[in-house]
């Protein structure tokens, strides 16, 4: 924070978060502007054994729970009951999409894009995913707090990977979510 210029006078240097401006003999020091909290998409609130998930979009579709949009409708905000915790005291809030495997688009059924609570999750690949169901973590709950995972609106796509060197496609549909 301190160094000397060529004439040997003490010179003030800026550093992380500190801005130094010189106006003639005057030196003005300014701290970094206070920024607000990050407002994520799908903000997860947690209490009383239930979670509530704020507004967010997947492929421009807002998820529903029991037919009600997650951000609420007519003053009613859907609550999702927590399924429980795993051996490391973790619980997951997952975005769950159901697709029509013929078209690759979201199914037309009620709650085709929804939010669910899960007491466990796979590691290399999310457990419970299948040809028609894709899952993406929104937040991890520990008994004391919420760890938000997803911060942005999402896109979703599916595809069959090539499984061998001969160009044959795997029979298991893969789901991809990205921001």
């Amino acid at each position: 924070m301190k160094s000397y210029d060529k004439t040997g006078r003490q010179q003030i240097c800026g550093g992380p978060g500190v801005l130094v401006s010189r106006f003639g003999d005057q030196v003005v020091l300014a701290g970094r502007e206070r920024r607000g909290r990050i407002d994520p998409a799908f903000p997860v609130l947690f209490g009383g054994g239930f979670v509530q998930v704020g507004f967010g979009l997947v492929n421009d579709v807002e998820p529903t729970v029991g037919g009600v949009p997650i951000s609420g409708k007519d003053g009613e905000v859907p609550q999702i009951k927590i399924e429980g915790y795993d051996s490391e005291d973790r619980s997951w809030v997952m975005l769950k999409v159901t697709i029509d495997p013929q078209t690759g688009k979201f199914a037309k059924s009620k709650d085709a894009v929804t939010v669910v609570s899960m007491a466990s999750a796979g590691e290399q690949r999310v457990a419970g995913e299948s040809d028609t169901v894709g899952l993406h973590p929104l937040a991890v709950l520990t008994p004391k707090r919420v760890h938000q995972i997803t911060f942005f609106n999402l896109r979703h796509a599916v595809g069959y990977p090539v499984a061998d060197g001969l160009g044959n496609f795997s029979k298991v549909l893969q789901h991809f979510f990205w921001s």
Binding site: Y4, G17, V18, L29, G31, D89, H136, S179
Partner: protein
């Protein structure tokens, strides 16, 4: 005289060296993987950290919704004794020589010499190991970044100054220059990279050329052994993990063949001389430790080498801000390695050789598959979520 203009956001500390200014952290938005500095702990952490170590942990981050395991984190346990009892015990054993380093308010005892693999959500602590750091500033290689230069670390070490010796008619090193290449009052820095790794599925493969006698018995001259590289399952159960690396950039681009590791560039060019370590990596943060000003005595002492201590300053250079998704490029294959051979004892074993020859096309297809998998190096990809 420093007048504090924005009192709510600046801290002015008066130290022996002068006034220190720092902006308060509480205005900055927090993000996953943010380093939470645990401070310097004065205890014997073993190895190069006998005098103490900087401890840190992270605001939890997730890969596919899973918090990573922190490799070789500092061990700690719930103490059954009070903090005062542990402290007096430690004092009676001669200060920092005991295993116990710190007793927290909640009775958690940090055990300095114990190393554990702990999940990040449990608040695992890393003892930062700067012992294998490059020299900053160095005479060659990358220059010190501007943000670190602002602390007073020069961009590069001064090249040895040369002068003309008129008597001998040659150019020789200036004997009057500081042998360390550092001026008194400047600072030096050390770094360590914190890296996220995922051990991917892959194959280990070995080829054995048998003798003719073995070949007639086993039906093949060449024997392949292929097996899944199971280190990931054994150690961490396919879970991502966090570990320290001396120089991630060196691994990425520089020639580190002398260290027995391939760079990523060598692997992309397919000239890697060593088998890959089968870990997909993503840098999280580079931790900079910045020394106090170099004294006059240190600058002229050719044997002086800086060691990170409590009076150094830590600065964090983030490379990952958001949580991650990870997927390996090929779907997971669950196959048992096959080595097909047929043992019947027909015609004293000669029949076996014939039958095995006739079956060898199946064998060969299997082997080709395994070899293909081995050279494919199915590396995974990280993306933000």
């Amino acid at each position: 005289m420093i007048r504090q203009l924005l009192a709510s956001r600046l801290d002015v500390r008066t130290t022996e060296e002068g006034k220190g200014l720092s902006a308060r952290r509480n205005g900055e938005p927090s993000h996953p993987w943010e380093v939470l500095n645990g401070g310097w702990i004065d205890a014997d952490f073993g190895g190069s950290m006998k005098g103490g170590a900087w401890l840190c942990t992270f605001r939890p981050g997730f890969v596919n919704g899973i918090d990573p395991i922190v490799r070789n984190s500092v061990g700690y346990d719930k103490s059954t004794r009070s903090g005062a009892a542990v402290a007096s015990d430690r004092a009676s054993r001669g200060g920092a020589q005991g295993e116990v380093a710190v007793v927290g308010e909640d009775g958690m005892v940090i055990t300095a010499t114990k190393r554990e693999h702990r999940p990040l959500l449990s608040g695992a602590l890393i003892a930062l190991d700067f012992s294998q750091s490059r020299d900053w500033p160095g005479e060659s290689g990358a220059a010190v970044p501007l943000a670190i230069q602002r602390y007073g670390v020069p961009a590069r070490k001064a090249a040895p100054s040369m002068k003309v010796n008129a008597d001998l008619g040659i150019v020789q090193a200036d004997a009057g220059a500081a042998p360390t290449g550092l001026a008194a009052g400047t600072r030096v820095a050390k770094t360590v990279d914190i890296v996220l790794g995922v051990a991917r599925y892959g194959l280990q493969e070995s080829v054995t050329l048998g003798s003719l006698a073995t070949a007639s018995a086993a039906g093949r001259l060449v024997t392949y052994n292929a097996a899944f590289d199971a280190r990931a399952t054994q150690a961490f159960g396919f879970r991502p993990f966090i570990y320290q690396m001396p120089d991630y950039d060196g691994w990425l681009v520089q020639d580190t063949m002398m260290r027995g590791q391939n760079t990523m560039v060598q692997r992309l060019l397919n000239v890697a001389p060593m088998p890959d370590d089968m870990i997909d990596k993503r840098p999280l943060v580079r931790v900079w430790a910045i020394s106090p000003p170099v004294t006059e005595e240190q600058a002229v002492d050719p044997k002086w080498s800086p060691v990170v201590a409590a009076d150094w300053t830590l600065e964090f250079e983030y490379r990952t801000f958001w949580n991650l998704n990870y997927r390996q490029r090929v779907p997971v294959l669950r196959m048992t390695p096959m080595a097909i051979s047929y043992h019947s004892g027909l015609a004293f074993g000669i029949g076996d050789a014939i039958v095995n020859q006739s079956m060898s096309f199946i064998d060969e297809a299997t082997q080709r598959f395994y070899l293909g998998m081995t050279y494919l190096q199915p590396e995974g990809k990280f993306w933000t979520t």
